[in-house]
Symmetry: C2
Subunit: 500 residues, 2 copies
C-alpha cells in the first residue's frame, strides 16, 4: 500500500478510483473520523434501550446514503453518516439502560486491535499466514490449563468462530469417536435398527439440538433431561431418562451440560454429571459459552467444579471475556480428541510432513479455512492487564445480579423465578390484585412496551412453562438506582398497557 | 461507558483497574497508537514475503510481552510492541512481494469500520439487536439480484461467517430437501440399502467433502467428477460418473461446481451443469467463494454464465470484494430454500408471531447465534464508491494474472499449467537441461526456499498429478517488473538448492 497518487499499475496509471480508496491517507482520514464518532457515542452515561424502526423506513435511510457517483472519492460526510446510522440504530451496550442480552461492550484495547487485524489480515488457521495467532492459541491454552489443573500438552484448545460452531465441532468429535466410520461412511449405513442420541438439559441452547439436526443424528434423537427448581439437570432423573432412551432404541453417546444456560444462567452439577458420564462411557460436553469464563476468577471458579473432567467444553470470550466477536475457545481434555472432528488434508493449505510449526496450526481442527486471529484480542488483554481485569469485571457483574435479585425479591409486585447462578435473572411483574392479562402474555407485552419506550432493553425467556422478563448484567457501570429505575419503568409500562 | 475516573459502581468505587481499562480515554489512546503503527506498516512499497520463526522462539517473545503486574494500567509501550509483533510476523498482504494466498488487503473504509463494529457490537442475526446489518443484508441481496437477473423477493441471501460454513449450510439445505425427515430423524433410519451422495469437481475445495463428513453423508459418498485440461468439470463425463454411482447404490442429490477452484481458479461450465442438474433433478450448488464476485464487473460477469440458474451459491466478500473476514454471502435462487437448512425456534431469540422486522432477520437461516455485522462493511464500500471500485480492482487483478501468464509462458525455464480463468496461475520451474530433482519435489523445495529468502510469498498446489508453484494476484499494485523479479528469485532459489 502506498501514499495517495504515488503509484503506477501494471498498465500505466491505475484508475483514479484506486489511488484514493486504497490509500494510506484514506485509512488515516477514515480512522480519525471513526474515532470521533465512537468517542462521542461511548462518552455518555444515559440510560438507553434501542430505537426500533420499521425495516422499510430504515432501508430508505440507508438507500439515501448510497452514492450515485460510481467514481466518487472518499466522502467524509457520507462515511460519518453511515457510522452514525449504525451507532444510532443498534443496541446501546455501553449504557446503563442495557440489560438485555449476553452481549457486551469490549475492552477498548481489544476493540482497537480488531482494526489492526482488519487492515493487516492474517488467516489464523495456518501458521505460515498468522504466526502470532497460532502462538496466542498455544499461550491461552496453557493459561487456562493451569486454571483447570490440566497437565501441559495432554489437552488441546481450538479457537473457533462462535458458540454454535464450537458446540457443533465438539459434538462432531464425539460422534466420530463413537461411530468411527461416520466420517467416511456417514450415518446412512447403520443397519442394526438402533440409533445414536444425545442427552441435553431441558434448557440447553438451541445450537445443541440444532447440531444433532446438522450432523445427521436427528433432533428426535435428542433426549431432554429434567431440571430442578433452579433449572439445573437433576442427575438422578438423568439416569432414568437415559435408560429409558436405550429401551426405546436410542443409545445416548453424549451428555451435554450447560454453564450457564441462556434463559437463567444456571450451571449444571458438572462434577456429578462427570461421574455419570464416566460410569456410562458417555462423552461429556459442557456448553460454557456464557459462564465457563468464571475459570479466570478465584471466587467464581468453584461454581464450575467438575468442568475439568469434561471431554470438551466451550467458552465464548466474546460474551464474558470482553473481546470482539467471534472468539470461542473449544477445550478438549485429551489432546487427540481435537483430531476427531475433521479428517482431511489439502496440499495447498496443510504442510506435510508435520513440522513443529504445522503441528501448531488449527486448520485441521476447526471448520474455518479463513479464520480471524481473534484469539490475539484475548491474549492482548491478558498481556496488558492480567486475568485480574476479567475476573474483577465478572465478579462485579455477578454481584450486580445478586443485588438485583435482592431488590426485586423485596418488591410486592414482582416475583423472581430463581436464584442467580451467574449474571442472568428471570422475573415476572405480578401485581398483587391480579389483572385481566394472563401471566405470560403480560410479561411479553411489558417487555415490548419497555423496549418501545426506549430507556431500557431487557429480554424475555421461557422458564419451564412460564414466560419471564429477563435481565443480563453485562455492563459493570450499572448501579442500584438503575435497577430501581428499571422496575419503575416496568410499572409505568404496565400502566400504559392498561394494567391497574 | 464514561470518561476515566468519573464512575462509581454498584458498591461504591469500582476497582481502579476498570476506570482505565474500559474508559473512553483508553480507547482514544489505543486508537491513536494503532493508527500510527498501521500507517507505518502500510506506507511501504517493499517487496516482502513472510519471516517465519520457530514457534518456541515466538512464544518466548510473546511471553515476554505479558505483564507481570495484574493491576497494570494501559501501557502504551506494551500495546505498541504487541501490534508491531503481530504486523511483523504475519503475511505482508499490502506489499508487492505477496502473491501467495487468496487473501487480500481490505479497502481502508471497511477495515476502519471493523473497529466501529468491535467497539459498538451488534449481533446481526437479530433485527432488534442490529437493525442496520439486517437492512444491509436486504440491500446487498437486491443489488446482487439485479446483476443476476433475479426478480425481487423470489430469492434469498444469508450472510454467514466464511466459505466453509457457507458451503456447509447450502449442502445442509440440499440434504434436507431430498430427505425431508433428515432434520428430525437423522440419516440413521434409512434402511433401503441405498445411500445419498454428492458429486463434486475433482479440484473442489476441501470444505465441500468435509461437509459430507459433517452432515452424516460420509466422504465416501462424495463422487469426484473428472476435469478437462483447464481443470473444469467435463460435463459429458459427469453424467457417466453419476450414473455409475447410482449403479453402485449412491443416489447423487447434489452437484457442486466451483467458480473458481482453489488450486487454479478454474470456473466450471455452470450453464451446462445447470442443464444437467435440471434434467436429473439435482441441487446445483456453486462454490463461488473466490470468483463469484465477478458478478460486479460487466467485463468478467460472462465467465459465470449459468450461476443465476444454481439453487445456491456462495461468494466470499472477504476474499475478492476487499472487506475484512469473515463475510460470506450465501444466495438461494428460491426464497423458501433458505428455510431448509435449520428448523428451529427459541423464545428468547426469535420473536413470534412473525413481524416484518423478524422476517428480515437471519438467525433462523444461519448457524451463528452471535454474528458480526460484517455485511455492513460491504454495504459501506458499495455506498461510498459504487460497485465500480470493486469491478475495477477485480479487472486489474485478472489483467495482472494474464500478464504473468504471458510473461512466464515466454520463459524457456518455466512452464505454465493452464490458462488463467481468474487471478490464479499455476506453473513450474523446469530448466531445459533437467536436474537431479524430480519435478514435484523441486517445486516444493523452490517454494520453501523462496519463502525463506523473505522477498516473495507464493504457494504450491497439486494440479492433477503434478506439483506446481502457484501465484494469486490480490494486490493491484503489482507490476510486470515485480513478476520478473519473482522469476529471478525462483532461479536464484534454484541455484541455492543446487539446481544447475
Amino acid at each position: 500500500m502506498t501514499s495517495v497518487d504515488s503509484r503506477v499499475g501494471a498498465f500505466g496509471e491505475l484508475p483514479h478510483v484506486f489511488s484514493e480508496a486504497f490509500s494510506v491517507l484514506t485509512f488515516e482520514r477514515a480512522a480519525a473520523l471513526a474515532v470521533q464518532c465512537l468517542t462521542r457515542h461511548l462518552d455518555s452515561n444515559d440510560r438507553r434501550g434501542v430505537t426500533l424502526q420499521e425495516p422499510a423506513d430504515l432501508i430508505a435511510q440507508a438507500r439515501a446514503l448510497m452514492s450515485s457517483d460510481p467514481h466518487g472519492d472518499f466522502d467524509e460526510q457520507r462515511f460519518t453518516h453511515i457510522i452514525d446510522l449504525y451507532l444510532r440504530t443498534g443496541i446501546q451496550v455501553h449504557t446503563t439502560g442495557y440489560m438485555g442480552r449476553q452481549f457486551s461492550s469490549v475492552a477498548p484495547a481489544a476493540g482497537v486491535f480488531d482494526m489492526v487485524s482488519a487492515m493487516a489480515p492474517q488467516p489464523a488457521s495456518f501458521y505460515e499466514a498468522g504466526q502470532l495467532a497460532n502462538v496466542a492459541d498455544s499461550i491461552m491454552a496453557q493459561e487456562f490449563a493451569a486454571l483447570l489443573g490440566w497437565a501441559p500438552n495432554q489437552f488441546d484448545m481450538v479457537a473457533t468462530s462462535g458458540g454454535a460452531l464450537g458446540n457443533l465441532t465438539a459434538l462432531l468429535a464425539a460422534r466420530n469417536r463413537f461411530v468411527p466410520q461416520a466420517w467416511t461412511e456417514g450415518l446412512q449405513s447403520r443397519s442394526d435398527g438402533r440409533r445414536l442420541g444425545i442427552a441435553v438439559g431441558a434448557d440447553s441452547h438451541y445450537s445443541v439440538s440444532r447440531a444433532a439436526g446438522v450432523l445427521g443424528i436427528g433432533e428426535n434423537c435428542v433426549v431432554r433431561l429434567p431440571l430442578d427448581d433452579q433449572r439445573r439437570i437433576r442427575v438422578h432423573d438423568a439416569v432414568t431418562v437415559i435408560d429409558q432412551a436405550a429401551r426405546d432404541g436410542i443409545d445416548i453417546f453424549c451428555l451435554v451440560a450447560s454453564a450457564g444456560t441462556t434463559a437463567t444462567g444456571s450451571i449444571d452439577p458438572l462434577d456429578e454429571l462427570a461421574d455419570l458420564a464416566s460410569e456410562r462411557g458417555l462423552w461429556l460436553h459442557v456448553d460454557g459459552a456464557h459462564s465457563a469464563s468464571f475459570l479466570v476468577s478465584e471466587r467464581l471458579r468453584p461454581r464450575l467444579r467438575g468442568i475439568e473432567r469434561a471431554d470438551s467444553f466451550i467458552l465464548d470470550a466474546h460474551k464474558t471475556l470482553f473481546v470482539p466477536a467471534a472468539c470461542t475457545l473449544l477445550f478438549y481434555r485429551e489432546a487427540l480428541s481435537s483430531q476427531l472432528a475433521f479428517e482431511q488434508v489439502a496440499s495447498y493449505v496443510f504442510d506435510e510432513p508435520y513440522s513443529e510449526a504445522s503441528r501448531m496450526e488449527s486448520g485441521g481442527k476447526n471448520l474455518e479455512c479463513t479464520k480471524r486471529p481473534s484469539i490475539v484480542n484475548l491474549w492482548l488483554l491478558w498481556s496488558m492487564y492480567g486475568r485480574q481485569l476479567l475476573a474483577s469485571k465478572l465478579e462485579t457483574l455477578v454481584d450486580l445480579t445478586d443485588m438485583a435479585h435482592g431488590l426485586i425479591s423485596a418488591q410486592a409486585d414482582f416475583r423472581v423465578l430463581h436464584t442467580p447462578q451467574s449474571n442472568i435473572l428471570c422475573f415476572q411483574y405480578a401485581p398483587a390484585g391480579g389483572t385481566v392479562w394472563d401471566r405470560d402474555s403480560l410479561q411479553s407485552a411489558l417487555r415490548d412496551k419497555v423496549r418501545s419506550r426506549g430507556n431500557f432493553l431487557i429480554s424475555k425467556a421461557d422458564v419451564g412453562d412460564e414466560r419471564a422478563l429477563r435481565l443480563v448484567m453485562m455492563n459493570h457501570e450499572i448501579t442500584e438506582p438503575d435497577v430501581r429505575a428499571l422496575l419503575d419503568e416496568i410499572r409505568e409500562a404496565a400502566r400504559e398497557i392498561g394494567v391497574e
